[in-house]
Symmetry: C2
Subunit: 328 residues, 2 copies
């Protein structure tokens, strides 16, 4: 089986490629070829190095999308996207990458073969498709009213995916990620970056700023779970999915205060003391428009799993990104 990952140099794309390489198969089929596409070079996973191709390109460009479809991958993970903050700052770029990029890829696949070529297409959507006001828990039947351009673009991607799937051009499934923490690496400027930062930095002995109150509620899953969602999605049949192919993923719904107590249990008071409260009304206002809690009943019934509690999310970070032990 030939697997294509767009956005393969991103954090989730990299971890997905590594896991596919480690396992050598996906959805019960051996991987004979792996194509990693991104605007910057993805890294080559060692185990599949001789069967992997790195492509540096904009997968959302119509000509590039055509070239990728011509490779006729059996399974496509479409992760390429501009993140929320950038899509909000640069209106044209957000629509070009997140909307036109998705549509160009779907169109290229349709023109490549119609029913004769209809690959499995796993699309990463986001809980950002939802917009306040919210009920206490968001059901699988709650409507989609995004309050960002990013959320709008992802919601449109979901609609296109469902229609192209219904028409038989792709065999699609859309995966709405919750907040993915703990993100490894450097702090970034995204509005929700602190959810990772207040864990990641203290574990490294570094101070982290907390711009919102301890009562803020949010749903999280680890990067390992994010990869697990994508791989599990690739194995779902059309029959299991039915016509509603876009699914809200499960996660761990906790307050910032709960996150901090989990950190204390795992790394002690010393770590918690490195969290500095720096209330920022602007950040608080943004976060207040984000969804808090999901039922995710359909995803759970279809076998998707996330961590049980936030302690486990921290332990996954230590295992996967810190070599299995706390830095001294």
């Amino acid at each position: 089986m030939h697997v294509l990952i767009t956005g393969a140099a991103g954090m989730v794309g990299r971890k997905l490629a590594e896991r596919l390489a480690r396992e050598g198969s996906c959805a019960g089929r051996a991987i004979s070829k792996l194509t990693l596409s991104d605007v910057v070079p993805a890294s080559l996973p060692a185990e599949l190095a001789n069967r992997a191709t790195i492509r540096v390109e904009d997968s959302g460009d119509a000509a590039v999308a055509k070239a990728l479809a011509a490779l006729r991958p059996d399974l496509i993970f479409h992760l390429a996207a501009i993140i929320s903050g950038e899509a909000e700052r640069d209106f044209d770029k957000g629509y070009r990458v997140n909307l036109d990029g998705m549509r160009n890829l779907l169109e290229a696949i349709r023109h490549e073969g119609g029913a004769a070529y209809a690959p499995k297409f796993v699309f990463t959507s986001s809980s950002g498709i939802f917009g306040a006001p919210f009920p206490p828990s968001i059901s699988d039947e709650f409507h989609v009213t995004p309050l960002t351009s990013y959320g709008t673009q992802k919601a449109i991607g979901e609609l296109l995916l469902a229609d192209y799937s219904r028409r038989g051009f792709v065999d699609g499934v859309g995966i709405r990620f919750p907040s993915i923490v703990v993100r490894p690496g450097k702090p970034n400027a995204s509005a929700g970056g602190f959810f990772s930062g207040i864990i990641r930095e203290p574990l490294q002995g570094v101070e982290a700023l907390l711009p919102v109150g301890d009562e803020v509620l949010f749903t999280h899953a680890s990067p390992r779970s994010a990869v697990g969602f994508l791989i599990h999605a690739a194995g779902l049949s059309r029959e299991e999915l039915g016509t509603r192919v876009n699914l809200t993923m499960p996660g761990v719904c906790v307050t910032v205060g709960d996150q901090i107590e989990a950190l204390r249990r795992i790394a002690g008071d010393k770590a918690v003391k490195l969290i500095r409260r720096a209330p920022d009304p602007a950040s608080s206002a943004i976060v207040a428009g984000w969804p808090t809690r999901f039922d995710a009943k359909r995803a759970l019934a279809l076998g998707f799993t996330a961590e049980r509690d936030f302690d486990e999310i921290i332990r996954v970070h230590i295992a996967d990104d810190l070599g299995g032990h706390l830095p001294n």
Copy 2:
């Protein structure tokens, strides 16, 4: 005020232009100029003939959209669309007219002036954005999972409208029409055409075929109400609408059997005898995927009104399309 109607030669567009011409104002402002755009020539409403311009063009074409935005209309009714059956038969045409047409017009407006030019933009959406399975009554917070390409294109139009409104490029409101009956004129081949046909034809002494069972439940409003929805929408402020700018309209929820009894009350057994039952499993299957009943709570709270019962819908047809009396 300069008013632009796209799709002005269609049934609702024509009735909208006639009413605006008759009243000479909309949303409390006098109409100084009326531009009627369609791919076929719209008819000139007598009262505004010297202030109206007929344009024959494809308003969804990017260059035409640019030319229309350059006219800087204060109020735009965007009605131009390919209907459901055609969008399903011709995938490319449906996306080009219903999706690209909407986006091109919004983009042309954005580039025309940004915050300095942000017209009121009334978009006709459809209850076709919803897809089965349904609860007994569809709330304003029910999710959008269309089962046709037309419904997908309208749902995407709604998302774009909300994002362009949030950004301040337009002052948008999307109106989800229920079934609009009684449509005047000749029978058409649309899957829901019989909802009008079983009233319109018998009133003219002509036989009408009924392809579905009497128990089929559906929500209807008259063409007069459809025009009323659009005009009422034009008068709503951003503050009244909030961020959720797309609204499900109210209507009369009745079974086909109820429709027939209303016809009997108004035109007697003679008319009802002209309805010939011709069960068609294909039509029944299509209609089974369509939404039946709506709460429409937000629209009702915002002052939108439809008919009280189906008798009234028939009387509106007789008044508006048959010169006020039954043909002999």
